[in-house]
Amino acid sequence: MAVAQPPLTAPPQVLGRFWRRSPMSLKIGGLILLVHLIVAATGPFWAPYGQAQMGAGLPLSPASFAHPFGIDQLSRDVFSRVVHGGHIVIFLAVSGTLLGLVIGAVVGLLSGYVRGWVDEVLMRFVEAIISIPFIVLGLLAISAAGPQLAGEPVLVIFVVALIYAPRVARMARSAALEIVTKDFITIARLRGESAWSVMRRELLPNATSVLLVEFAVRAGYAPVLVGSLGFLGFGMRPPTPEWGLMISENRALLIASPATVLGPGLMLASLIVGLNLFTEGLARILGRTVQIASR
């Protein structure tokens, strides 16, 4: 029997209702993220100077109206560099997290479904990789990749994925273990569906909310990873305006012009606060609890 559907509401009204019902953290986090996304997307078009343009003014000038974050050693406008860096940081963080999530989800869900020795071996490897603190694992992987790849965005993305994939896999596996007890999995198996097809059509849709929250939590920490690698000199290379690298470069100017460090620091911190608030709100809507900054 067909149940009477409620009339479809116009999108603006749906959005309005969603906005009113959503938790405070989601609203504030969402607004911060929106500002960051707008700056990242449009910044390169309105930034007063180019991302590595020299001759912006007297080197080491402190913050002023014309140069809100001061001027660095190479007489580059730090504000412009910070604005140009937005899309780099967000792109590296999001694509690294996404790649890690996809690999981790496939491995974890399959492992939890097929069980047996495959599961045993995979999970031992996952546990072993997790036992190397992620910053150490990241540095090790970057050294192993060699000088040809050093400073390439692809390498940073792969390293973030390498760090996240095993952690996501462990999470996805425990989600799969819960789902496989359901009747519809037994039915799919009796239909003769392959493990891959069961994973794609039955497990994945039922693990969406787990994976969504996992993505949000990991994406919230990814800028820290990218920034830490850059700060230690293992991430992006100069003159890329990546914020962690900029903080490291301008640290020598701390006393002469603290704004050159505070500027990129403020952007990095606000991006992560925004992501974390958003995640907390999202998790509350989906009825899950999260440990922010899960390391």
């Binding site: 031992r124 490897f125 546990e127 072993a128 990789i129 036992s131 190397i132 603190p133 992620f134 910053i135 150490v136 540095l139 090790l140 992987a141 050294s143 192993a144 060699g146 000088p147 040809q148 919230g220 800028p223 820290v224 920034g227 830490s228 700060f231 230690l232 000199g233 293992f234 962690g244 903080i247 490291s248 640290r251 701390l254 006393i255 603290p258 460090v261 505070l262 620091g265 990095l268 911190a269 992560i272 606060v273 992501l275 974390n276 608030l277 922010i292 900054a293 390391r295």
Partner: protein
Amino acid sequence: MAVLRLVIGRIFVSVLTLLLVSFIIFSMVEILPGDVASRILGRDATPESLATLRERLHLNDPAPERYVRWLGNIVQGDLGNALTSSRPINEILGPRIFNTLMLSLFAFAIYIPLSLIPAAVQALNRDKTIDHVLSIVSLILVSMPEFLLATLLLILFVAMIPLFPAMSLVDDSTPFWEYLRALALPGMTLGIVMAVYAVRMLRDNLIEVLDADFIRMAELKGLSRRRVLLRHALPNAMVPTLNVTALNLAYLVGGVVIVEKVFAFPGFGSLLVDALQLRDAPLIEATVLITATVYISANMIADVGAIVLNPRLRSS
């Protein structure tokens, strides 16, 4: 007996994981570009000298054989020699590990009051302004990368109020007082990072305990708020906190890598980064393996502690 079996099982799994980690580390260092011999000899290398050195370092042996030999030496306590300084790694490690231990102790000394006090204040003033304010502060701090927090502390305590040195360079001849001052900023950074991680959980635990019947009972008996908090609530909220603290210990092995580097503190963490920068294969293998060992042990302690202290976990 059941507990003992669980604990032994957990230890066995940890050893197995560590073995696998050693294999992963060895393979990753193996694929480091350029072989060890050409890295030692550098530009002076002639084909003949390279061949002799390769022979002497057994580089022509198959990788599995070298892995087994390397692992065998480590089990006997011999970590080999560093490439860059050709000194025994055991000798290099001593003072570095001592410095990092001192730093960790300092960080823990800051961590304990910094996590207990805000959590207690928040739990006692649940949903009041102070609770919300502290929640926001801890959320902001939890979002702060270590290197950024370290840099902010540098601005505050070096540039604005010159209290501590910007570089924590210490050696054997550093007087005790100077040594403590050198520990201040890296110690504070690590202490704050660990505390904000614990505060959120400790607050929720305390609130849960404060709602429990035995606390009602204690209050109805007419005990003072202070006594209820210190003698009844805190000890019961400690169990999950011990777990968090063990996890923080595991965090510390990774955390020191960044923080020591920021302050140029000559500890174990900066040794690891230096080894990676210089592509010193034996030193990389040794430091990463030690890091993983501490990490695995700390996690094991957290799990075993949870099993022993919480009978509900024993059945699973």
